[in-house]
Symmetry: C2
Subunit: 726 residues, 2 copies
Amino acid sequence: MASKAHKDAASQTNMDVDYVIVYRFAQTDKSTAVANFERLIEALSHVGLATEVRNGENHSLLVFAKVASEEHLFGEVYRSRVKDWMHGVRSAAPEKETRGTLEREPLYEAERLRIIYQLITNPIADGGAGITPKHGEWRNVESVFALHDHEANKKWIKKWSTSYFLKIEDLDDIRDRLGEKIAFYFAFTQSYFTFLFFPAIAGASAWVLLGHFSPFYAIISSLWCTVFTEYWKHQEVDLAVRWGVRGVSKMETHRREFKHEKEATDPITGETVRIFPATKRLQRQLLQVPFAIGTAIALGVLIATCFGIEVFISEIYDGPLKSVLVFLPTGILTTVMPVLVNILTSFATQLTQFENYDTQSAYDKAITQKMFVINFITSYLGIFLTAFVYVPFGTIIVPYLDIFSLTVRPFAENEKQLQSPKAGFTINPSRLRNQVIYFTVTAQIVNQALEVIIPYVKRKGFAKYKKFQSERAINNGGGVNVSDNDPPEEAAFLTRVRQEAELDVYDVTTDLREMVLQFGYLSLFSVVWPLTACSFIVNDWLELRTDAIKIAVEMQRPTPWRADTIGPWLDSLSFLTWLGTITTSALVYLFSNDGLGPGGTPKDIQGWALLLSIFFSEHIFLAVREGVRLIISKLDSPGLQKEKRERFLVRKRYFDESLSQLSRFPGLKDAEVKTDRASLEEDVRRTSLASPEERFWGRQRGPHETAKIGAGLIQRAAPVESKKQQ
Amino acid sequence: MASKAHKDAASQTNMDVDYVIVYRFAQTDKSTAVANFERLIEALSHVGLATEVRNGENHSLLVFAKVASEEHLFGEVYRSRVKDWMHGVRSAAPEKETRGTLEREPLYEAERLRIIYQLITNPIADGGAGITPKHGEWRNVESVFALHDHEANKKWIKKWSTSYFLKIEDLDDIRDRLGEKIAFYFAFTQSYFTFLFFPAIAGASAWVLLGHFSPFYAIISSLWCTVFTEYWKHQEVDLAVRWGVRGVSKMETHRREFKHEKEATDPITGETVRIFPATKRLQRQLLQVPFAIGTAIALGVLIATCFGIEVFISEIYDGPLKSVLVFLPTGILTTVMPVLVNILTSFATQLTQFENYDTQSAYDKAITQKMFVINFITSYLGIFLTAFVYVPFGTIIVPYLDIFSLTVRPFAENEKQLQSPKAGFTINPSRLRNQVIYFTVTAQIVNQALEVIIPYVKRKGFAKYKKFQSERAINNGGGVNVSDNDPPEEAAFLTRVRQEAELDVYDVTTDLREMVLQFGYLSLFSVVWPLTACSFIVNDWLELRTDAIKIAVEMQRPTPWRADTIGPWLDSLSFLTWLGTITTSALVYLFSNDGLGPGGTPKDIQGWALLLSIFFSEHIFLAVREGVRLIISKLDSPGLQKEKRERFLVRKRYFDESLSQLSRFPGLKDAEVKTDRASLEEDVRRTSLASPEERFWGRQRGPHETAKIGAGLIQRAAPVESKKQQ
C-alpha cells in the first residue's frame, strides 16, 4: 500500500501543535455547546494561543493550540523563572533582558510544555486562560494533552530494550521530554534495580550455603534496606539540583476544590486568604481512625477467611475435588478483593476530600497515607498470618477451622473427610515459603502482564466500540463519519490524534506504589526466601521497559510536572525498612533452628527471647540508621557542589558590591588615634571641668605613650625571674 | 567613712571602657615583655581602638581599650550585618548608607561588645587585630573581658529575686546585655520551670491518691516530657527569630587549633582550603568506642563497688560502728568520683582535639556527646543498679556480697556479723525511693550550694593569697604595691577592675548540662517518687536566681556570643525522653503491684510481659511524638510570623521590580492573533510550497474563524440528545 510512507510521515510530524483540547458536546444541547465553544476559543486566543479546530470522535471537537509567537512564551517563561528564584529554586535572579536569558538557558521540551499547560489551565488572575477540564463552566472540555513524539519514543524504547543499565543521561532524556516527576520515578526504580544486585548476590549465597532464615542474610538485608533508603534520600537531592528543581515541592499549589469557611486578611501579606479552621480539619482527620480500623477489619476478615478456608481445604479436607476446591479461596480473593479495594479507595478519596486540604501537597500526602494502609493490608497480611499465626500456633488453631467445613460440605462424601485429626496434625512447613514465592514471583509476573495487557485490550476494545457506534450513527442517517471531511494530507495525522485522545491518562504514583510495595516484600519477608531479590531484578528490568512502552504507546503523553522527590512514598519506604527489622528478627528467631521452623509447637517459643531479639534488632537498626545517615551526609555530590558554587558566586557578587561601599568611611587601619591632638588633650587632662571618663582617657596621649608607660611599668615591676634563680 | 560615696560612684562608671586586656609578664623576661606589649598596643590602635594602661596585680598590666570613634565601629557593624544577610540570618540586605541603618536599628549592648571583641580577636585577614589570648605570640595576653555594669546587675538581681515568673522582657534584657547564648540558657530554664508545674501537680495528686509507680502518672510524665521537648524546639525557633539570630549556628567559625594535612583549591570558591581527610577523622572517631567502654567500665566498677559495699554494710553487716561505716561508700564516691571524672573529662577533651574538627560547632557537638556519656553514667547508673539489679535480683545477688566483707573486717567482732543470712534475706523496699529522693532533693541542694559557695571561697581565698604575696614582695624590697601609683580619683575603679580580672570565666554549658541532667531524673525515674517535679520547681526557681548572682558577682562579665539554639544538648533531651518511656514502663511493670515492688522475687517477673510493656510503651511514644510534632508545627508563633512577613515584603519588592520589566514585551492579552494578516495567510494557504505544518495552521484565519467552523461542526453532528428521547 502506498499509504505506508504517508502514514510514517504523519507519525513523524506533530504539525507544531503544542496541546490538543478535546471538546465533547454529546451531553449538552447544541446552542450551549456552540456558545461554550466560542468562549473556549476566545479564552485561548486571549492568552496568545493560536487555534485550529477539527472533527473529533463521538460528538467531540479537537482544538489544536500552539503559542502564537515565541515572544509571548518568553514572558511566561520569565514570569515562571522569577517565581522559581523567589522560592529559592534558582539561586540567581534571572536577568531582566529575557531574550538573553533564554539564549543562555534554552527551554527544554518538558519545561515548554509545562509552561503552556499552565498558561491554559491557570486561573485568569494568575495570567492563565483559566480552563479547568471537566469542571464548572468548562465541563465540556474533556482533556488537554500534548501529542506523543513518536520518533523519540521509538528511539527511547529501542535504546532501553537493548541496554542492561540505564545511564544518568537516559534519565536526563526522560526529564527533558516527560518532566521531572516521571523522571524521578524512573530514577528511583533504576536506583533500586542497581541496588538489588547486592541482596541478590547475598541472598543467592545464603540460599546455597546457609539455608533459609539465616541470621547472616537477615543482617545483610536489613542493612541493605537502610542503606538504600538513606542513599536514595541523598540521591534525590542530587538529582533535584541536577535538574534545577530543588525546592519546587515547597511551592504550594492551591487546590481548586478547597472550600473555605471564612475569609480573613493575612497578617503577613495583607491579602485576603481563605481559611478553613485547623481544629475542624483535625476533627475530620480523626475519622481516619475508624477508617483504618474499618479497612483493617474488612480486608482482614476477607483475607483471614480465605486463609482459613485454604488451610482447611488443603490440610484437613480429604474428600473429592480437593485439587480443584483448593483454588476456591484464591477465587474468592481475586473476585472480592478488587471490588473491596475499589470501594475502600473511593472511600479514602472521599474522606481526603472531606478533610478539605488547602494545598495539593497536603492532599497528596493524606491520600497516600490512606492508600498505604489499604495496600499494606492487601499485600502483606496474608504472609503475616502464615508467619505469626499459622506456623507458630497452627496446632492450636487448625482444629477450630472446622467452621469452614460448610464451604466444601456439598462435595464431601462423609463427615470424616471434613474433620481435622484430633491429634498428630502438623503444620505444612513449606507453606510460608510458598506464599512468599507466590507474592514475589507469581504475583509480580501476573501484575506485570496485566499492566501491559489490560490497557491494550481496553484500547482495542474501545476503538472497536467507537467504530461500531459511529457506524450505527451513520446507518441511523444522522451522522457522518468524523474523518470524512479530513483534508487528505492531514487524514493520517488526525486519525492518530483521535486515537491518542481516547487513551488513558498515565498516573505515575501507581507505578511508584508498586515499587514501594515490592520493596516491602524484600524488607519484611525476604529472609524467608533469600532468592527474592533475584526474582525482583528480573522483574524490575522488565518493569522499567514495559513502563516505557506503556507511557509511549498505551497512554496519552503525560503533562510534564515538576517534582524534587518521590513524595510521601518516601515515608512508606522508611516505615517498611523499620518494620522490616522487627519482622526479620522475629522470623529468624522463630524459624532459624533448622531453616524450616519449630514445627508449630508454641511452647518452644520463649516470649521474652522473641521480644528481646526484636528489641535489640530494632534498636541496633535505629543506631545503624543514624550512622548510615552520618556517613551518607559526608558523601560529596556533584549536584550539591554545583548548587554551592552557584550560591557562593551569587553571594560573592553581593558581598563585593556591598563592601565596596565601606571605603567611604575612614579606613580603620589608617586612623592615627589621638596623637596629633596633643595640645587639646593636654588641656582636657588638666581641666577639672572634664568628666572622670575624659580625665581617665586623657592620661596617655595615643598608643605610643601607652606603650611607653606600659614599658616603664614592666621595668619597674619586681623581678620575678631573678627571684626564682636565687 | 567618706570613701563610701566615692566607692559607689566608682562602681557606677565604667570609664567608657569597652574591654580590659590583662597582660601578664611574670614568666617572660622584661625586654621581651616590653616588645610584646608594644606590639599589643600597636595592634589595638591599628584596628581603631584607643588604649590606656594601668598597673595590674601580680606582674600584670591592665590595658583599657575603647573604640576610638563611633565611625570606626559603624564599618564593623555594617560588615557584620552584610555577612548575616548573606547567611540568611537577616531577610533584607542592610542599606548601604550606614548611618541611616544604625539609626533605624541601633546596636544593643551585647551586639556592640560582640563586635568589638571580634575586632580584637579576629584574624588580621578578617579585619581584626588577631589577638589570641594565651596562644602563640600573644601568650602574655591573659584575658580579654568587658566590665560588669554594676548598676544594671543590681537591678537585675533585685527584680528577679522578687518575682515568681520571668517575663519574656526579662529574657530580652539578658539578651541585650549578655548575648543570645546566655539568654537561651535562661529561656530554656524558665520554660522548663514553667512546664514543671504540670508534672508537679500530677505528681502530687498521684502521690496522694495513687501511691508510687502509678501507671497514670507514668503516662502523664512521659507525655509531658515529649510535649516539653518538642515545644522547646518550637520555642527555640521563635526566640531565635525574635532576637534576630535565626541561622547563626550555621555560620561556621573555624577552629584555630585545626591542623590541616594538605591544602587544596576549593572547586566551588576557588579559594585555598585546608583539608583533613574524613576517613582519617573517622578512624580517630572510632576511638570513641573504647573510650565509651572504658568510661563505662571505670565509672561502672566504681559505682557498682560502692553500691555493693553499701548494701553489704547496711543490710548484712551487723557489727559495731555500722551507723558510721555505712557512710564509707559515700565517702569513697565523693572523693574518688570527682578525680575520676576529671581524668575522663580531660581524656575526652584530648580525644576530641585529636579528632581535629574544622569547625567550632562540630567540636562542640563531639565533646558534648562524650560529656553526656560520662554524666549519664555518674548521674543515673546508681539508680539503674538499684531498680533493675538490686530490687528484682537482690535475693540472688546479696549472698555473694560477702566479698565486700573485707572493707569492714577490721571493725567486726566476729565472723557472724559479716555473714549474710543464708535464708530469709529480704531486700529493702524503700532503698530505690530513698535513692531517687537523694538524687532529686539532697544532691540538688548540695550542688546548688556548692555552685555558689565554691567560687565565693575561691574568690576570697585568691584575694587573700594575692594580698599576702604582694606584701611579701614589698617586704622583700623589690616591688611596690600595685595600687600605690593609682590616681586617687581612679583608685576605687582600678581596685574593682583588678578584682574582676581575677574572677573565673563563666561557662554556660555547665549550667545547661545541669538542667538537662535534672530533666533526665524526671523522665527516667520520677515514677518512683512522683514528688520529684515539686522538688525541682523549688530548686529551679532558686537556680535561676543564683545563676544570675553567679554571673553578676562571681564571674567575669561573659563575652556575649550569639546562638539560635541550646545546641547539642537538645539531642540529649530527646534521648532522655525516649529512654524515659523505656525505664518508666519497665519500672511500672516491675513495681506497680502494690506501690512497693514485688519483694525481690525474680520468678514473679515475666520476661515477655516486661519486654512487651517496654515494646508497646516505646512505640506508643514514637507515635505520640509524631502527633505532638504535627500539632506543635501547626501552632502559630509570633516570631515565625514576623519572619514570614519580612521575607514576604522582600520578595514582593523584588517581584514587583522584576515583573515591571515584563511590560516591555507585547502584552499577551492584547495580542490580536492572525486576524489582520488575512491576505498574506490566504496566499500561504493556497501555496503548495508551504510545509504541511503551515498549511495545517493556515486553514482557519484566527480565533473567530475557528469558533465559526467549530460551531458548524457542532451543528452538523448527529443529534445525540434527541435520540435518547426517542
